[in-house]
């Protein structure tokens, strides 16, 4: 092994890729896409605002007014909490029953269709008996609006019941209180509060790993084939051993991936901090406190997994002359990577169950799933150890196998080799005559 030569290969692979426009376009397009996605989400949430003129058919006769008051109070409270924020402005119009209830509803329906009303609410004793109220509107998927209405109705009904039972009116505030379920992750070292930030970080890491195995693993396949079609490989092999060239390529391409993540994390820190801050303010996620162990495990499984998949992709690229020829076999690592994600829900739901244990020991799913388990639960140390050992041995075995196929494959041109032929290359040992040389031709 000559590290001078390997370094030269790494340098070339890295610089030639990082210098391309395609790399920078991809690097900036992905964050731009995510920011755009977040902006659209944010915009749609904000768009749930404006006037909502709703007719209330109150056959009880004493709920419509309190409801209108309750909605107005809630609106005022929201405005005080976040000044300047636009929200839904409810305009409640109590309507009498004209004729019978069905006729009234029919008339209101026409008003909604004619856009005179946004919707109408029916508060009828027969329905309320069954804990139901009916809300008719052209838009029934406006969750923010619907929730506001539902909460207001419940509060009004609660107060009504308190009054009916002759209980003190101040009881409503007490009864409306809800218990907040605080989740704490139990580890051998004690219990720490889990606000969801740790899990979100683990999922982000998992997505990065998954993407790297796919994208940058596949880059190895393309790189090998490119060198063959360019007919440059023989010139390089005259100076660098095939294993050195392979290693240099895998490392170089891996570093390109890491560069991309570095750019992304810098972009995330600078641009989307307000986004994260607002998300945290909305109480959806706690501050992402990422434990050091998670980062450590991420690096370990990331490197081992990347080498494993890069070796597989290299071995698959080496025998072929075009991407198309290699495509069929390239399905294998792709399926293996996807299968790691296929068991993701099972591992999430039961991080120490049978599926999780198997997926975290099976070398092709282990990088993703063992990492996930260490991040969300606390798998037994022997399982972590065993998983790492199996993964390391598999990676070394795969690199060895890839090296053997690579060595022969890169000089093979012409006809697309069959799988038995490729397997023969693995067994082939130079210096040993596979078949005795035929006697001199007469």
């Amino acid at each position: 092994m000559s590290w001078t030569k390997i370094f030269a290969v790494i340098r070339r692979e890295y610089l030639e890729r990082v210098r391309t426009k395609a790399f920078w376009i991809a690097t900036f397009l992905v964050p731009a896409f995510f920011l755009g996605y977040m902006a659209v989400q944010f915009a749609t949430i904000r768009k749930t605002s404006g006037e909502r003129r709703v007719a209330v058919v109150d056959t009880t006769g004493h709920l419509a007014q309190p409801l209108a008051r309750e909605l107005a109070e809630r609106e005022e409270a929201r405005r005080q909490k976040t000044p300047g924020a636009r929200g839904i402005h409810w305009i409640i119009e109590p309507r009498p029953v004209v004729g019978d209830l069905e006729k009234t509803k029919e008339a209101l329906r026409r008003e909604v269709v004619d856009k005179k009303l946004y919707g109408y609410l029916v508060l009828d004793p027969a329905l309320l008996e069954k804990d139901r109220a009916e809300y008719y509107s052209i838009s029934v998927s406006e969750f923010v609006a619907l929730e506001q209405m539902e909460r207001a109705i419940n509060t009004v009904l609660l107060r009504e019941k308190i009054r009916e039972q002759g209980l003190p009116a101040s009881l409503d505030k007490e009864l409306e209180k809800r218990v907040d379920l605080k989740t704490l992750k139990v580890t051998t070292k004690g219990a720490t509060e889990e606000k969801g930030g740790g899990i979100i970080a683990a999922i982000v890491f998992l997505a990065i790993m998954y993407m790297t195995f796919f994208m940058y693993g596949f880059q190895n396949l393309r790189g090998v084939i490119e060198e063959k079609t360019n007919r440059i490989v023989e010139l390089v092999i005259a100076s660098v051993r095939p294993t050195e060239l392979m290693l240099g390529k895998i490392i170089g391409i891996g570093l390109v991936g890491l560069t991309q993540y570095l750019v992304w994390s810098l972009v995330a820190m600078n641009l989307s901090l307000p986004g994260i801050a607002s998300m945290m303010a909305m109480g959806e996620a706690g501050a992402p406190t990422i434990p050091l162990s998670t980062i450590g495990y991420f690096l370990l499984f990331f490197i081992l997994g990347y080498f494993l998949y890069a070796s597989i992709y290299t071995a698959i690229g080496a025998p072929f002359n075009t991407d198309q020829e290699a495509q069929q076999l390239a399905m294998i690592p792709s399926m293996l990577i996807v299968s790691g994600m296929a068991v993701y829900p099972a591992v999430m739901n039961n991080p120490n169950g049978g599926v999780a244990v198997f997926a975290s020991l099976f070398p092709f799913t282990a990088p993703l799933m063992m990492f996930l388990r260490t991040a969300i639960a606390e798998p037994p140390p022997w399982q972590i150890g065993l998983s790492i050992v199996i993964l390391m041995l598999s990676t070394m075995g795969m690199a060895w196998l890839a090296g053997r196929i690579y060595r022969v494959g890169i000089l093979m041109y012409g006809k697309k080799p069959t799988i038995p032929e490729i397997l023969r290359w693995v067994r082939y040992r130079p210096g040993k005559v596979l078949q005795p040389a035929s006697p001199p031709a007469s």
């Binding site: 000559s2 001078t4 030569k5 030269a8 290969v9 340098r11 070339r12 610089l15 030639e16 391309t20 060198e227 360019n230 007919r231 440059i232 490989v233 023989e234 010139l235 390089v236 092999i237 005259a238 100076s239 660098v240 000089l411 041109y413 130079p430 210096g431 040993k432 005559v433 596979l434 078949q435 040389a437 035929s438 001199p440 031709a441 007469s442």
Partner: protein
């Protein structure tokens, strides 16, 4: 001093097909050595084994006295038959990379690239991508890549195939420069005419086997077949019917005549002068092609493949 390259009983079998069959030859230092033979004779396989790109099944190969090591690999300049470059790389970056994998320091490499670019008029192209270069320009880049580390031995596989006449002339000039500096050049070709003009020593291959090896001048003497060149204006039948003529080949303005063994040249010329008005005559050395065909025949190999 040890030979530049030595092969002893080297064999290589691909499946059932013997690519190289117990081949031995040695290349003295400071010569231009031609590895000759038709396509498929085993030239490229031999060169790849010398370069340690393909491993020999049996036999021994020594380069500069020892089996090929990393250190000797860095002292060889190699131009493969399948020539390619990274198409998207800038010329100067490409050359720097190829120098780096020969463990040439970056400063040395930069200096030599500048020198060679000057000599081969490539300077304006150094910052361009390989893709943007003409084929002839790319050939110059490939040649610089072969010599960028100032090698002691040059191994060139079919160096002139695909080269335009101008580049052929340029490369030939630099090869003779290299030889003057005492460096060894090994090249393979299936064009015997080129070999004839360049080589000091040759090794002829046919059907995976060596059929002839040695100093070209000595070989010519050894294979001299009593050839005469006659400048004469006469029908071929009459010339062929002259006593002592074994074969008669019409050439421009006359004939090349091979005399049958035992025929005295002076006796034959006297008789020929009696019958025809000879404008001139000269003794003629055999051409490499003739030596090749003789050697193939002598080796008893049925060579159906044509050679240029």
């Amino acid at each position: 001093m040890t030979a530049a390259i030595e092969l002893e009983n080297v064999s290589k079998v691909f499946g059932k097909f013997p690519a190289v069959d117990s081949l031995s030859f040695h290349v003295p230092r400071g010569v231009v050595f031609g590895l000759l033979g038709p396509n498929g004779a085993g030239k490229t396989t031999t060169i790849r084994m010398v370069m340690n790109i393909t491993a020999a099944d049996s036999g021994e190969i020594r380069v500069l006295g020892n089996p090929m090591t990393r250190e000797t690999q860095n002292r060889i300049g190699y131009l493969p038959e399948e020539r390619g470059l990274y198409r998207k790389m800038k010329v100067v970056d490409h050359l720097l990379f190829l120098a780096a994998i020969k463990e040439v320091s970056r400063e040395d490499a930069r200096r030599r690239i500048a020198e060679w670019a000057e000599k081969l008029e490539l300077k304006p192209w150094l910052k361009k991508k390989v893709d943007e270069l003409s084929k002839g320009m790319q050939q110059k880049v490939q040649f610089i890549a072969t010599v960028i580390h100032d090698p002691e031995i040059l191994i060139l596989d079919e160096p002139f195939s695909g080269l335009d006449p101008i580049n052929t002339a340029i490369i030939k000039e630099y090869l003779s420069d290299f030889r003057k500096k005492g460096k060894t050049i090994v090249f393979s070709t299936h064009v015997l005419e080129q070999a004839e003009k360049l080589c000091d020593e040759i090794c002829l291959l046919a059907r995976s086997k060596k059929i002839l090896e040695g100093n070209l001048r000595e070989l010519k003497r050894r294979f001299s077949r009593n050839l005469l060149h006659l400048s004469v204006d006469a029908p071929p039948a009459e010339i062929a019917s002259l006593p002592g003529v074994a074969s008669c080949q019409p050439v421009n303005g006359g004939y090349v005549i091979a005399l049958s063994p035992g025929t005295d040249q002076r006796e034959f010329l006297r008789r020929a002068l009696d019958r025809h008005p000879l404008q001139g005559f000269s003794a003629r050395d055999p051409e490499l092609e003739e030596i090749y065909l003789d050697a193939v025949r002598a080796a008893g190999i049925e060579e159906t493949r044509t050679i240029e």
